[in-house]
């Protein structure tokens, strides 16, 4: 009977090892995913969010964006170069448009084209309602480029496209 304890023990050991690997964020992929998660949190506005909490949330742009970075949106008007301070004010303006909004990154694919550089492809999903009561549910292809410095991974470029581009 004793031998049957090996199976649950092995399962528990593997689960613990896997959890340690992923939760400790040791892999570079996990760190990049964390940056994307922070970006989504910045763009998310919940009904109970007060102004102070929102200001604190979006003031952290310098932790995820490089000194200068590019935004490229197909058929968009926000194309151009930005710095983290400009991004903070743009985020404040964007959040002001919505009553509530949730932004999520799905199906993240990360590649490392060269040393200290990374690229993430994912589906950006936005669900929310604007101040004038209009509901929005949109999904786009998002491509993010990253550069690694001593302080971690920083976004250098964001390109947003239609999932099916006619």
């Amino acid at each position: 009977m004793k031998k049957y304890w090996i199976i649950p023990a092995a399962v528990i050991f593997l689960a613990a090892a896997g959890s340690f690997f992923f939760l400790s964020g040791r892999s570079e992929e996990a760190r990049i995913k964390k940056v994307l998660q922070t970006l989504c949190q910045m763009a998310t506005k919940r009904p109970g969010d007060n102004a102070a909490a929102a200001a604190l949330k979006i003031s952290r742009t310098d932790r995820i964006f490089a000194g200068t970075f590019t935004i490229s949106i197909s058929n968009g008007m926000f194309n151009g170069q930005y710095n983290p301070t400009q991004m903070t004010s743009e985020l404040a303006r964007y959040r002001n448009v919505f009553n509530e909004v949730e932004v999520e990154a799905q199906d993240i694919e990360i590649s490392f084209p060269q040393e200290n550089h990374a690229q993430a492809l994912f589906t950006g999903v936005l669900n929310g309602s604007t101040r004038n009561g209009k509901s929005l549910s949109e999904a786009r292809d998002v491509e993010c480029s990253f550069i690694k410095t001593d302080k971690g991974w920083f976004i250098t470029r964001i390109a947003i496209r239609e999932i099916m581009e006619k």
């Binding site: 492809l121 589906t123 099916m164």
Partner: protein
């Protein structure tokens, strides 16, 4: 008088008999004894079914007219994810494309990376050559600008080109969005 208790007693009685009559086999199959082995088998079946439905044969409800008449506007199929494990998607393949979580599109690949695609009066041109598409049965008057397909992308469109061009979702997608093909 018929009661559930009487039925249960009957089932228990059948189980207690050691014979292999049809009635006993029937009772064992439809009313198995709640023993450790039964729960273990149930757990294995549940895990295998969950794995298969999540990663191998994803059940999909079809809701939309974009692939008519090849696929009905309402129907059911499975997405066979193994289709492109050992070969690349090709022109003419019907594929299932992931949009967001739990939302997929059923489309046909008409062009591959490097091709130039255009619709002129409803006729599909690939690299300037009009394509014969026997699966397209409805009349179309679509006109689009020529589009060159980027590396790592392909061009997908539904078979029902009679829909208003603004309503029909088609275009260039990342090949990595293709999750498989319909099983039937």
């Amino acid at each position: 008088m018929f009661s559930l208790t009487a039925l249960w007693n009957r089932i228990v009685h059948l189980h207690r008999s050691d014979d292999d009559t049809a009635a006993a086999t029937f009772a064992e199959f439809f009313f198995p004894r709640m023993k450790k082995g039964f729960f273990l088998r149930m757990a294995v079946v549940a895990v295998v079914a969950a794995v298969v439905c999540k990663w191998v044969l994803i059940p999909c409800f079809i809701d939309g007219e974009s692939m008519m008449p090849t696929f009905p506007s309402r129907g059911f199929t499975f997405c066979w994810t193994g289709k492109y494990l050992f070969r690349d998607p090709a022109r003419g393949d019907v594929v299932i494309v992931k949009y967001v979580d739990k939302v997929f599109f059923l489309k046909r690949i008409v062009a591959l990376p490097g091709d130039v695609v255009q619709f002129r009066q409803g006729v599909l041109y690939v690299n300037g050559v009009p394509q014969k598409e026997p699966y397209v049965r409805y009349v179309s008057n679509w006109n689009t600008r020529p589009v060159k397909i980027s590396p790592g992308h392909c061009f997908v469109v539904g078979d029902n080109r009679s829909q208003y061009i603004g309503r029909h979702r088609f275009g260039q997608i990342r090949i990595s969005r293709i999750v498989g093909a319909p099983l039937f």
